[in-house]
Symmetry: C2
């Protein structure tokens, strides 16, 4: 359901707006964090790219429309850096949670400087080194997914290892996308266990290997979604592979963690803590 | 430089902490948004997974250490849902920007319910449908990168088209990772231009095609980083391909946008606005 045709909602459901002069990703992250503390359902409407007076008036009109239909103030999470645009939104009939309005003024006082009030500075723009590095990291991680290439492994910031479907691929891509890390990943397969050795491309990069493991039950469930009833997916085979992989990682002194109950965000953050790359700049 | 050995910084550089009981991604997003409004350099220290009294005391000690070394209050962006942990951090010598402390109480009043004060609820956990959908979307997007597979294109939420290196791959992965959308992507190549027709797998899915274009100059620059001096990268060839691709998209009635000066976040948000998937739940 979009907001083009507002309809009355059960009174237990509130409408929430995310209003931003950019993509709205910060407004959504901020809003979701606050909303996650309430056991309620929310109808969510995203209003990105509100970067002119006209668009701000349009947005305010949509907020007011929802107010008349819902007979309840919508919650409005906003990240508008321009005071003029922010004021137009805050004049609408909503409950306003304004990130900049709330935090920028105290920061100005603390730092003894004025803020720039610059639209769209939140995310790095396409001309910066940081942005280019991120895109390069994504390309690197894709090219080095699932052991596809041994080339340039020396450039990797981290090489994830683990059995098939232990969570390596989404974690690598997340590390690249969110943190600009060149994250390769390499599978540990039954051949490696029979030889009792790491794949031959890896030992020289031992210091940047990081292992992922997973409970055999969960692994079997995930593999069955792909190849139902196969030996590959059987609990017995999953137990064998996980046991061998964990023994190998222990023997080789590879740090590892279990992805069984962790989200890719949690896994990536934990790995980042271990790697601790230099991050002195904003 | 990590915070293990604090060193005095030039007085123009402030130290910033991101303190969270989870991954710290929300604290960082929130903090970066506020910091982006100031033309200064900041030294950033991430303290995730602060989910016990002991860890909170450790974190507070690190904040105090930085205060004594810097001779300036560090800025502390925190997302701690437990009042007890939050209080320990706020007792440290810093300038505190506490997301929950600031916004949850007014929300409780507005909604007439108490918040749950539940740690780690910000990001969907691995057991939810939403999380499974995201992982499935990432796998789908990877399997359908660069026209690798025609299988299950009917399942795609969106199919990006455009010439090689116009930004399709990172955008598809971002749409999957951030929004759980199954985003396939399909290259438009010189063969297609000679035939004057879309690749044969695509016309039946016209309603979910979305085009990316890019300026020939920027494209040539990007391609030269890959294959310096090649015909593929030459400005002349880039002009030809872009011209043909734009004509084809126009003729076929495909919506498109230029990625030249847009970040993947901006491209993805714009596409999402066009697709407008159902998002009624929090």
């Amino acid at each position: 359901m979009t907001a083009d045709t507002p309809q009355a909602l059960p009174t237990s459901t509130r409408t929430v707006f995310f209003v931003s002069d950019g993509t709205g990703i910060t407004a959504e992250t901020f809003g979701h964090a606050v909303l996650s503390q309430f056991e309620m359902r929310f109808r969510q409407i995203r209003l990105p790219f509100i970067d002119s007076i006209d668009k701000a008036h349009d947005a305010a009109r949509r907020i007011n429309e929802v107010f008349s239909v819902d007979q309840q103030r919508p919650i409005v999470f906003s990240t508008l850096v321009t005071p003029k645009l922010s004021a137009i939104i805050r004049a609408a009939n909503g409950m306003h949670m304004d990130l900049f309005q709330t935090f920028v003024a105290p920061m100005e006082q603390e730092l003894g400087v004025k803020s720039t009030h610059t639209i769209g500075r939140i995310h790095n723009t396409v001309d910066t080194e940081e942005y280019k590095n991120r895109i390069e990291a994504i390309n690197f991680s894709l090219a080095h997914d699932d052991g596809q290439s041994h080339k340039n492994l020396a450039e990797a910031d981290v090489i994830l290892v683990g059995v098939s479907r232990s969570g390596k691929t989404p974690t690598s891509l997340y590390l690249a996308m969110q943190y600009g890390l060149k994250a390769a990943n390499y599978p540990l397969i039954p051949d490696d266990f029979e030889r009792g050795r790491l794949p031959s491309a890896l030992p020289e990069f031992r210091h940047k290997l990081f292992g992922l493991t997973i409970s055999p039950e969960r692994l079997s469930q995930i593999r069955n979604e792909r190849r139902a009833g196969s030996k590959y997916a059987s609990l017995q085979n999953c137990r064998y592979e996980i046991n061998e992989a964990e023994q190998m990682m222990q023997r080789e002194g590879i740090r590892w963690l279990s992805s069984t109950t962790k989200s890719i965000e949690e896994i990536a953050t934990t790995i980042l803590q271990e790697i601790k790359p230099d991050r002195n700049n904003s």
